[in-house]
Symmetry: C2
Subunit: 318 residues, 2 copies
């Protein structure tokens, strides 16, 4: 894999898809007759909850790790994360025989710490603030010479994330609209690019929790605005956009729909009850947007990226 | 489909499978690398939680309904059930254009009542005792002339249930052992028959909650013994065997393993967390048996029937 230095092109995504293939699952696209009946919409769910590490993040992690030079590879890769990105970087490194250094906040869930260590990563703990995470990561990078892999503001991460929508398009006929959740914007911008390249007639819509609607407000204003809170059950979507992801979203996303915490919980519950699959709250956000704006989608064939399935079963929002 | 009047033969199961095919899903067989790593066992899960109505029961219900004479079909079908069998009979009837009469205890979960009515069945409520259920059903049958479809002590039900293991065997290479949960014994006896016919070298093991271990004790004693309680979270396994299912289990099942309530809950949790699928407690019982007796299964290729995924998300056992 090469380093992608600008907005990923069609050929970048095609190449990335070919080279990461041995390291990822081609996850299934599932439908539910009962959900289609309830909604009057034909829905196709790309199940990245069944992906390795339980989330789409392994796609970008692998794409970024493979793009390192031999010299960079010798020093390994590093990131700060309390969630899925930590495991993606750790597993990508393990599969490629690299060292991984992960900075995690001291209050990260024990199960995620154990999983990250289980992939052979060296974990450094810090205070649970963004400042502490960044300064600790800087120290780790200075000490080890490892290359930082940003969770979303990185064109190789975006290129890898784009392969999920590429597969959804390849495996589903005649989609009219594709939706994805927006957190830092890696999945959303990758989804928008793949839709433009591989299904140019289709609409691309993002979905975001009302409580952390930086992307919605930035999109309307045409300038980056920031969240003032991280207060949402959709723990994967608490971050702000980066300038790389915002630029792509502004150009290639058609619309953004926001949803309430209650709407997210109800959509999540419906997915669990009817489809019998475990998805994390972030995954339910685009489906919540569809349920909220049913009339807009009636009779259409809608593709939704279910981003992951890593959820604390003792802290469900319903 | 013909009526099966004695222990189902290989040809009965093959024929049933062909005729019910348009009415059922061919559910996937899933594996989890992380569960295989934890256990040191290669496990293959037949996901009947993704089946229509969320459980394997639609297989037997369809097989039994299709076997009715034209005269019987005119009067419809009837059963008493608070759970998956009610929905299986209701949906089978709807698909075949028959009337369905379901007796449900007054304390049945509203979601199951709604689902049964949603399939067009006429629901009659009764007190929540076996006596009231049977006497109310007798009244309904006397009034309507409908044919009673027993949930498990019926050779067509057993024949239909057997098609799940047949698919598992067809879709998985080289299984050494197949496990299923035991409640009334319909799924277990069908699984044992399909294994004998389609994979004669493999072992067949049943799994049962310790708290309702009538099958385990009956199997050891060689005579039918009964539960004195229904106190288990595995709500699909609270019933006693019938004489038809007991006879098949005694002859064709190699062993029965019992598990505690705690072991069931832990196995269920592991399936949810690692496989990202929603299964009901009954489904987790065979996996709990494997976890409990790991040494016995090490290095083997094990097939497990996950019987269903209908669970109350507000009353999880973990």
């Amino acid at each position: 894999m090469h380093k992608v230095h600008t907005v990923p092109q069609r050929s970048d995504i095609e190449h990335a898809h070919a080279v990461i293939k041995p390291y990822i699952h081609r996850t299934p696209v599932l439908s539910s007759q009962s959900i289609n009946k309830i909604t009057g919409i034909e829905l196709f769910f790309k199940c990245e909850n069944f992906q390795k590490i339980g989330a789409f993040k392994i796609r970008g992690g692998t794409c970024a790790a493979l793009a390192l030079s031999d010299e960079e590879k010798q020093n390994g890769i590093a990131t700060h994360s309390s969630g899925n990105h930590a495991q993606a970087v750790a597993l990508s490194a393990q599969r490629l025989g690299l060292k991984a250094y992960i900075v995690m906040p001291s209050n990260a869930p024990p199960v995620k710490i154990a999983a990250t260590k289980g992939y052979g990563a060296e974990v450094t703990f810090c205070d649970p603030t963004l400042e502490a995470r960044e300064s600790t990561l800087a120290q780790v990078v200075a000490r080890t010479g490892a290359t930082e892999i940003h969770p979303y503001n990185n064109y190789n991460i975006i290129t890898g994330a784009a392969t999920a929508a590429k597969e959804l398009i390849e495996d589903t006929e005649g989609l009219d609209i594709i939706l994805a959740p927006i957190g830092g914007g890696g999945l959303m911008s990758g989804t928008a690019l793949s839709t433009r390249y591989f299904l140019p007639g289709a609409e691309v819509i993002g979905a975001e929790p009302e409580n952390v609607d930086d992307a919605f407000r930035s999109f309307k204003a045409g300038a980056m605005l920031y969240n003032t809170t991280t207060d949402t059950i959709a723990d994967g979507l608490r971050t702000n956009l980066g300038e790389k992801t915002f630029d792509i979203i502004l150009r290639y996303v058609d619309d953004i729909i926001t949803v309430s915490e209650k709407e997210i919980a109800e959509a999540m519950r419906l997915l669990w009850e009817r489809m019998k699959i475990v998805v994390e709250p972030s995954s339910a956000v685009p489906f919540a947007a569809v349920l909220k704006s049913k009339d807009r989608f009636t009779g259409k064939r809608i593709g939704i990226i279910l981003s992951g399935g890593n959820v604390n079963l003792n802290d469900l929002p319903f």
